[in-house]
Amino acid sequence: MIRFFPIINLRSLNVSCLLSILMSISMGLLAPELKGQVFTDEFEQASGRELLEKVHNTHEQFPYVYEEQSMILIDRLGQKETRNLKRYSRVEQDGQASFLLVFDSPEDVKGVAVLARRNKLGETTQFIYLPAFSRSLIRNAGGASHSSFLGTDFSVENLIGEELDNYILERQRDSIIGGVEYFVVDVRNNNRKLRRHYILKDILFIARTEFFDELDQIYKCQTQHDLTPVLGDMWRANMLLMQDFRENHQTLIKINKRVFSADYVPTKVFTAEWLYENTIQAVELEMQTEESS
């Protein structure tokens, strides 16, 4: 199992360790330059699926991710609403995955959580926890995982990643936008094109995804910004922007802190009990209600 600790205590390191870290960092910095040509050549003839598998394998090397995020919702008038969240994700070796998003602020929604679990077959179940409602997980039974959630422009699928087996992946002609080269892959279901990924040729990173409606018109667009090398070929974006053109609304997610560590995302985090213990208790709120009434 690969573990990686981006927050390193320098005092505990010896010289050889330090050198190896420095090597890693310089490799990371140089990676795009060195790898760019390699990827371009290597995937010139690759299928869409091969490309996306490579993308996933390259950038999803760490199965345990903890993030502290700021989520900024921007409406058509440019008015902003900011939420702070914690995101936990964990992918098991057998392919099962868990995903948890917990609201830290605003105060009124503190403790609200979205829990998603994906089984070995790729089926996702979602739960919602509303501390103000009750001390129970509410199953979010309806709604496709591609529906936007909790007032954002993202769907759960956008945040936990798509299950490639569920789609038809079609390689399209490469594209150059603003002097930058991209591989282009369309994600389809049986009837129509759903998304189009623009993959940076040099680092094999999805920098832009366009979402299409039934009329084959783009209605949403996700772009990734502030790309940072993590280790080797692995990169991460520190900022994600989803624009919904139909609603004239945007959601910007800024990663304030990211830790790739199993310690930060233990299994118990994805349980109801942990949520009840670690978020505002519904009982407390009920008491507050009684006092105020």
Partner: protein, 919 residues
């Protein structure tokens, strides 16, 4: 002076033709820039303070400018129909300028249930994919009809009707000429291709309303002008039997219209539904003057034929008889139209500017062009029947006058009394008058748009929208359940009012989610805590809430749908609502009830006020003008009567028949007064003229009526027919305007020719003409023994009862041997007193200005003892004994002083005779 003006066209024919041609070409070039404005913006007063608030609310909560596509089918929830609906919705999305579609396939519902594994919530689209089985379709139906937020808004209660809401691009310039028409046509072409698939399918929204207004406006523009012209030609040819008389108003009208609309194009003044009436108005109003002028011209030609004079003399005759009235009538008519400038409603202001210019331009064109036309074509129009009575082939006017004369002669007081009662009755009826300014009321009831709008209201809710907006100073105020309950209370009050179809607020959304979380059978109740509110709201995307609450939750908005078309009712309920909203909200909230249709309807109040102001000012101006003309306020008052009677009757009829005061009908009063006064001016001017040469004022009244009646009746009938043509308009407001104006014109015949003469016969009016024409040297009056010891007022009174007589040299003022009871005072010129005894004539005396003669005959009916012959051009005042006694019976002081002065004169004469005999 008047003759000179009219003779410009005769003297400088080429220059006039060149000027008129040049003006026509320059203004005509502006026609291409003429734009049509059917937007509602022009119905809102420019000074309405709510405009900015409205724009802010619209900016924040989203526009109310949406088109609704209505789909009705008994089998709507079957896979086949839903597939057709999906196709329709997809095609609508492709229409240019459509930015958003909210329909069945985009709607999301939240539903909760309690399962064995605990609570479960489903937030999903009503239809994520097309149903393949009836079961799937039924499930979707249940899901849709289970959402209280959609019932009445997007689905009918029985599910047979659904609506697709189309939002158009905000960044499009809505004033762009063909924007609305294009969008409407594009949507309509999609609907047409699907119409056979559903029982009912249509669209209602600003593009359709604008497109229909525009097409109706164009139809009106094309239809009404020619129709009026045809009616005008027909009535003139019928009554005046002259092609020239029909040609003249057509030429002046066409030129006026080119000048007016061309200038509108250059000035950027848009054509609106009211200005579409202008062709008809100009044709009918312009023709009235032309009819009076042609009538005078024919009289002049008839006289000229007798005297061997030419066409130019007839034009001079026409100018001298109709010149001043023409100027006055152009002035009063222009004032009538200009009075509408008082309105703060852009639609009426634009109309006021255009129509006033058109009237003035028509006056100028008439003065310049008519003489040119008459010089060119008038020569051939000399009648064989030179008798003035026979100028008009049809004797309808004569018959009308005969009927009126029966009342005037036999029951004058009853006629006046009956008219007064009629006026009282209609004044009472006028108190029922109400105002409306709603654009939908422009269309007739049977218009498909109105019918379909009613259907939408019946099945869903009215298509008109306004907002009740509450604003708190504290942030996140509308996360507090207490404040949400205020929204709930306001909505409950509106439901109690019973006039609004549907209200929707953030409170409804929260009650709905709360119910679903509590379980499907729970009551619709607001969440209890602020946290619960905030957490439930996470289930909505901002775009789903933006119409109801601001992003910071300081402002909340209740969206209200209704279909109230009557401003009066709407304003009353809104006023009540405003008070209650403020009461419920409390002092910590700013409240407003705002919406474009509310501003339009509120403008109805300003419509009423502006019309009262306009009418008041116009009547005042007419009163002043007429008072100056007759040098007495009494003249002013009498001149107002023929204007007031039609107005009272018109408002009374409106109240009686429930016709509202709207942008069309509101103008009838001022325009009708402006036109009806024309006939009065002609009548009184002619009467004034006749009074200069007769002391038989009753006779003068009759003569004036007789002369003026024919052109007045013809022009009023032509006006009535012309206005009547507006009944063919596509717009109710225009048709109502036409019908009322036509009726007012007919009533003005009765007022001018029946009532006014009865009053005129009883009240002596002496006009400015007379005073000016007398040109009396004050020193002559001062020296005259007849006016000795009399004040200026007494002198004036006495003079006004006398007659002014003009004599040529050699003409006899008094003839020896005749009997007469008139006494004369020479104002200007000299005369000799000559006595004839058998074959011998003897000059007894020479008379100079200020001197009196005929005083013995005045005192006692005896034969004149000598001739009095003018030896130069002479003007003298003639005092008739009976007239003086009758007219001055209410002025005993004047009579006493006059009698005393006459006694003194007689005494002097006696003394002279005795001296002579003694000498």
């Amino acid at each position: 002076m008047m003759s000179s003006l009219f003779l410009i066209g005769v003297r400088y024919k080429s220059a006039v033709i060149a000027f008129v041609t040049l003006m026509t070409l320059i203004t005509g070039a502006g026609l291409q820039y003429l734009v049509i404005d059917t937007g509602f913006d022009s119905l809102i007063p420019s000074d309405d303070p709510n405009r900015l608030v409205y724009q802010r609310v619209m900016g924040e909560f989203g526009s109310d400018n949406k088109t609704l596509v209505y789909i009705e089918d008994g089998d709507l929830w079957t896979p086949g129909k839903l597939a057709a609906l999906d196709k329709l919705q997809s095609q609508l999305k492709k229409v240019d300028h459509v930015s958003r579609i909210d329909g069945l396939f985009d709607l999301r519902t939240i539903s909760g249930e309690q399962t064995e594994n605990g609570p479960s919530i489903r937030s999903e689209l009503i239809l994520d994919k097309l149903p393949e089985t009836q079961f799937e379709a039924d499930t979707a139906k249940n899901r849709a009809l289970g959402n209280p937020l959609y019932i009445g808004n997007l689905f009918s209660v029985d599910g047979r009707v659904t609506a697709i809401i189309i939002t158009l691009d905000d960044n499009i310039d809505v004033k762009e000429q063909d924007y609305n028409v294009k969008v409407y046509d594009d949507i309509e072409s999609v609907l047409t291709s699907h119409r056979s698939e559903f029982q009912r399918l249509f669209q209602v929204g600003p593009p359709r309303i604008n497109a229909e207004l525009k097409s109706s406006l164009s139809e009106d523009f094309i239809l009404l002008g020619p129709l009026s012209a045809f009616v005008l030609i027909a009535s003139i040819v019928l009554f005046m039997r002259s092609g020239l008389a029909a040609l003249v108003p057509i030429v002046t009208s066409v030129l006026t219209l080119i000048w007016t609309f061309g200038l509108m194009g250059w000035a950027g003044v848009p054509l609106n539904i009211l200005s579409a009436m202008i062709p008809s108005l100009i044709i009918v109003i312009g023709s009235t003057e032309d009819t009076h002028m042609m009538s005078a011209f024919f009289r002049g030609m008839a006289r000229g034929k007798e005297n061997g004079e030419n066409c130019q003399k007839a034009i001079v005759y026409m100018a001298s008889h109709t010149g001043l009235p023409l100027i006055l009538t152009v002035l009063t008519t222009a004032l009538g139209f200009a009075s509408n400038l008082f309105s703060s409603i852009g639609l009426i202001q634009d109309f006021a500017i255009t129509s006033t210019f058109a009237i003035v331009a028509n006056g100028i064109i008439t003065i310049l062009v008519v003489p040119v036309l008459l010089m060119q074509f008038g020569k051939g129009d000399i009648r064989d029947d030179s008798d003035e009575e026979d100028i008009y082939s049809n004797n309808l006017p004569a018959r009308i006058i005969q009927v009126f004369r029966i009342s005037q002669d036999k029951f004058p007081l009853y006629t006046l009394g009956f008219t007064a009662l009629l006026c009282l009755f209609f004044t009472y009826q006028a108190s029922h008058l109400y105002v409306t300014n709603d654009p939908m009321s422009y269309f007739p009831e049977d218009n498909p748009l109105i019918q379909e709008t009613k259907l939408i209201q019946e099945k869903l809710a009215g298509v008109k929208v306004f907002f009740v907006s509450l604003e708190s100073e504290s942030e996140k105020a509308f996360l507090e359940p207490a404040n949400l309950r205020k929204l709930e209370a306001i909505q409950a009050f509106m439901q109690k009012q019973g006039v609004f179809d549907r209200t929707l607020s953030i409170a409804d959304h929260l009650r709905y989610v709360n119910r679903e979380f509590q379980g499907q059978f729970a009551e619709l109740r607001l969440p209890k805590t602020r946290q619960m509110v905030a957490q439930y709201l996470l289930f909505f995307h901002r775009s789903e809430l933006e119409s109801y609450v601001s992003h910071d939750y300081r402002r909340a908005n209740i969206v209200v749908r209704h279909n109230v078309n009557d401003s009066n009712t709407l304003n009353r309920y809104i006023e009540e609502l405003e008070t209650v909203v403020q009461q419920i909200a409390g002092p910590n909230f700013k409240t407003m009830v705002i919406g474009e249709n509310l501003m339009v309807n509120r403008a109805a109040e300003s419509l009423m006020m502006s019309q009262i102001k306009a009418l008041g000012l116009l009547l005042l101006l007419i009163f002043i003008l007429m008072s100056i003309m007759f040098t007495s306020f009494k003249g002013g008052v009498i001149a107002m009567i023929p204007s007031l009677i039609p107005i009272i009757l018109m408002f009374g009829v409106m109240g009686f028949l429930n016709i509202p005061l709207n942008p069309g009908t509101a103008m009838v009063a001022v325009i009708a007064v402006g036109i009806a006064i024309d006939g009065t001016i002609h009548l009184l001017a002619r009467y004034n003229e006749l009074c200069r040469s007769t002391s038989d004022y009753k006779g003068a009244v009759r003569a004036a009526v007789k002369e003026v009646a024919t052109p007045l009746i013809i022009s009023s009938l032509a006006l009535s027919f012309g206005f009547g043509m507006l009944l063919f308009s596509n717009f109710t407001v225009v048709a109502q305007f036409g019908a009322l104006a036509a009726a007012t014109m007919l009533v003005s015949i009765f007022a001018n020719l029946l009532i006014t003469p009865i009053i005129m016969e009883r009240v002596r009016l002496v006009g400015l003409y007379q005073i000016i024409a007398m040109n009396v040297d004050e020193s002559v009056l001062d020296k005259s023994p007849l006016f000795n010891q009399m004040s200026r007022y007494q002198r004036r009174k006495a003079i006004l009862i006398s007659e002014l007589r003009e004599f040529e040299p050699g003409e006899k003022l008094v003839e020896q041997g005749t009997t007469g009871r008139s006494m004369y005072m020479i104002l200007d010129g000299e005369a000799d007193v000559i006595r004839h005894d058998k074959d011998r004539s003897r000059r007894l005396a020479g008379l100079k200005p200020g001197e009196i003669f005929g005083e013995i005959g005045y005192i006692r009916a005896i034969e004149r003892t000598a001739d009095v012959t003018a030896i130069s051009s002479l003007s003298a005042l003639r005092f008739d004994y009976e007239r003086m006694q009758k007219d001055l019976k209410f002025f005993p002081n004047i009579v006493a002083q006059l009698n005393f002065n006459i006694s003194a004169i007689l005494g002097e004469r006696l003394a002279d005779v005795l001296d002579e005999k003694g000498g």
